[in-house]
C-alpha cells in the first residue's frame, strides 16, 4: 500500500478536549524506541537515508495522518506567543536552505499532496492539504508573505532548530519550536551545544556530549543522520513548553489507576540532523510521535517491553523526564499483560 497516496488527514485537537488518537496503521508504524528491556541514554546515531516503506524513517521528512491538525496547533501556539519562532539576522542563507530542504523533500516524497515547480529562481509551491499556492523568487524574501523559514516551518510537523557552526561549536541561532518537551527556544536562542545540554543528567559524565559535538561538526551535506529520544506526557499535548507550564503541569497529578492507560502517552522524538549547503548550518528536526499506553498495548510485545523498561529505569532519568508522578501506575497497569517471557531484541510490534 502506498501510504502517501492514501493519506487521510484527521481533524483532531492537542489541547482542551484532546481528541487526538492514532489509527491502527499509525500505531503499527509508531517508532517504538526500546529494543531491550533496559534503557540507558546513548548517542545511538544512524544514517537517515531512507527506511522501510511505510515506516516513519522512509522519507527525510515524515508526513502522517496528523499533519493538518499538527500544523493547525502550531499556528495557534505562534499566535499566542510569536517568540516560538526566532531567526537571528545572520541566518538568512540558512532560511533559504530550509525552504529548499522542505519543498524538495515534500514534493519528491509526497507528490499527490505537494507540488514544486522551478524555473530558475522562480518557484511555484502548492501545498494541497493546507491549501497553499505560492509563487515566489528563491532568495528574495519580499516575495513571500513572511520570513522564508517561518513560511516552511508552518508547513512541517515537529520542531526545527537550526544551528550555526563557528568556533568549533554549534549555536542555536534559529528555530520554530511549538511542540517541545519542556524546553524553550526563546531561552536557548544563541546558546552553544554544551550550554543547552547542561541540564541532562548522566550524559556529561559519560563524555557523550564531547563525542556528539565532534561528530556533528563533521556532519556532511548529503549524509543526514537520526536518532530516537523519548519521554512521556500526560494527555496528547504537543505544546509542553516551560512558558505554558501552568497549563499542563497540573495534569501530571491527574493520573489515576483508572485513567492511566488512556491519559499517559509515550512521546518519541525522531531527531534528524541535516547539513545545509549554502549556510553550512545544521538543521536539527525534532519530530514527536504520541501514543497512549493503551494504544501501544494493542501489541503485547510492546506492553511487556514498556513495563520492563520503566521498571528498570535509572531514578535520575525518571526524574529528569518528569515521570515520577505516574511511572509506577503505568507499570502496575501493564503488569497483568507481562507474563515474564523473554522478548527477542528489537523494536518491532509483533
Amino acid at each position: 500500500m502506498n501510504m502517501a497516496k492514501n493519506l487521510a488527514f484527521k481533524q483532531e485537537t492537542f489541547r482542551d478536549d484532546y481528541t487526538y488518537s492514532n489509527s491502527a496503521e499509525a500505531i503499527r508504524r509508531f517508532p517504538f524506541p526500546f529494543a531491550e528491556d533496559e534503557y540507558m541514554y546513548s548517542v545511538n546515531i544512524e544514517q537517515h537515508n531512507g527506511g522501510a516503506p511505510g515506516s516513519v524513517f522512509e522519507h527525510a521528512i515524515d508526513v502522517d495522518e496528523h499533519y493538518v491538525a499538527e500544523c493547525a496547533d502550531r499556528a495557534l501556539v505562534l499566535e499566542d506567543d510569536p517568540l516560538r519562532y526566532i531567526a537571528l539576522p545572520h541566518m538568512m542563507d540558512a532560511q533559504w536552505d530550509m525552504v529548499e530542504l522542505v519543498m524538495d523533500s515534500l514534493s519528491t516524497d509526497y507528490p499527490e499532496q505537494f507540488k514544486l515547480t522551478k524555473d530558475g529562481d522562480n518557484w511555484h509551491w502548492i501545498n494541497k492539504p493546507l491549501g497553499i499556492d505560492q509563487k515566489f523568487v528563491f532568495g528574495d524574501e519580499s516575495t513571500l508573505p513572511m520570513q522564508p523559514f517561518e513560511f516552511v516551518g508552518r508547513q512541517v510537523q515537529g520542531d526545527w532548530i537550526i544551528l550555526d557552526q563557528r568556533d568549533d561549536d554549534l549555536f542555536a541561532d534559529m528555530g520554530i519550536v511549538t511542540s517541545q518537551a519542556d524546553w524553550s527556544m526563546a531561552f536557548d536562542a544563541g546558546m552553544s551545544f554544551k550550554e543547552w545540554h547542561g541540564p541532562v543528567p548522566q550524559a556529561n559524565e559519560l563524555g557523550i556530549f564531547d563525542r556528539a559535538l565532534k561528530y556533528l561538526l563533521h556532519l556532511q551535506y548529503g549524509s543526514p543522520v537520526r536518532r530516537l529520544n523519548w519521554t512521556m506526557t500526560v494527555n496528547p499535548r504537543l505544546d509542553t513548553s516551560p512558558e505554558n507550564y501552568p497549563l499542563w503541569g497540573p495534569d501530571n497529578v491527574s493520573v489515576t489507576p483508572e485513567n492511566v492507560g488512556d491519559k499517559v502517552h509515550l512521546r518519541v522524538e525522531l531527531q534528524a540532523l541535516f547539513r545545509l549547503p549554502r549556510s553550512n548550518a545544521i538543521a536539527f528536526s525534532v519530530r514527536g510521535y504520541l501514543a497512549s499506553v493503551n494504544e501501544l498495548a494493542t501489541y503485547p510485545r510492546w506492553a511487556k517491553r514498556l513495563r520492563r523498561v520503566l521498571t528498570n529505569l535509572h531514578p535520575d532519568l525518571s526524574e529528569y523526564k518528569g515521570l515520577d508522578f505516574y511511572r509506577q501506575m503505568v507499570i502496575d497497569h501493564l503488569a497483568p499483560m507481562d507474563d515474564g517471557t523473554e522478548l527477542e531484541l528489537g523494536t518491532h510490534p509483533e
Binding site: D93, R166, D167, H218, Q220, Y221, P277, R278, N280
Partner: protein, 317 residues
Amino acid sequence: MSVLNVKVAEVEQVTEVVKHFTLVQENGEPLPRFSGGSHVVVSMDINGRIHRNPYSLMGSTANTDSYHISVRKQENSRGGSVYMHEQVKPGSTLQITYPTNLFAISKLGRRHILIAGGIGITPFMSQISDLNRLGYDYELHYAYRSPEHAAFREQLQEMCGDRVHFYVDSEDERLDIPDLLSHQPLGTHVYICGPVPMVKALHLHAKNLGWPDNHVHSEEFTAPPSGDEFTVELALSGMEVTVPGDMSMLEAMEEAGAEPPFLCRGGACGRCELEVVSCDGVIMHNDHYLSDHEKAEGRSIMPCVSRAKCSKLVVNL
C-alpha cells in the same frame, strides 16, 4: 559517505604549474550547493591504488552547474597532483565527495581579512563570491612568487575591485602581516591559506597582538609524508596491517579492507582520529588538529597524515 560521479568538462593551464579543472556531474544534473571555503576529496585510481586528495572549490557558490578546482603540480608529489596534471583530460571521470567546509566565513564577523599565498588562493575564490553576495566588509591580500605565477589575478580584480591587493615576491613586494593586523578594528576576522611558514607567522603575530584565537582562521591540507614501513594492529577488529613507506596509514588500512572514518584527508578536520593503545616507538604527528600537548601525550593519531617510527602500533579500530 555520499559520493558524486563527475566528468571533467574542461582543463585550463593557468600557470606553468597550476591547472584548473571544470567538473560536471556525469548524470547531467547540477552539483550540490556549497558554502564558500568548502573542499571536496577527489579519488584517483593510480595503477590500482586509490589516492584521495582534498581540493578547495573555487567557483561561485551561486552557480553549481559545474565545480571548479585547481591543482598545483607538486615537485615531491606522491602521485596525486602529477596524475591530475598528466592523466586527467577533458572527458575523464572522477569520483568526489560531497563538499565539506572546514574554512567557513564567520557570519558574526564585522570585517574579514583574507590572506593567500600562491595556490592558497583557491578557497578564497568561493568565499569571495559569498562575501560579495552578502555585502560583508572584506579585503584580500594575495602574495605569489613572480608574474608568471599570478594565477587568477584578472578574475580576482574583476570580483574584488579595490578590495584586492597583490604582492609579487620577485618584484620585492612584501606583505607586512604585523602591520596589516595592527590596523584592524576589533571584531575583525583573519583567514589565511598558504605555505606553512606564512600560516605560522600569521598565528604568531596575531597572538602577539592579542587577537582572540577564534578570530584567526587557517586552512592547511598536508599531503601524507612518506616514512618507514611499520605495522598497525587494529585492536577491535583484530586485523594487522603493514603500512609501506610510501603509503599513509589511512590508505594502508583501507586497502586492507578496514573502513576507518575520514573526511578531509589532510590532517585538518580530526574526523579520522584513532585512539592509540600502544606504540613501541615514536608517533610522527603531521596533523594540524591535535594540540602540541595532545601530540606529546601520544594517545591519539590522525592516520590520514601521521605515521609511526616503530615496529608495532596498536589502535582502537
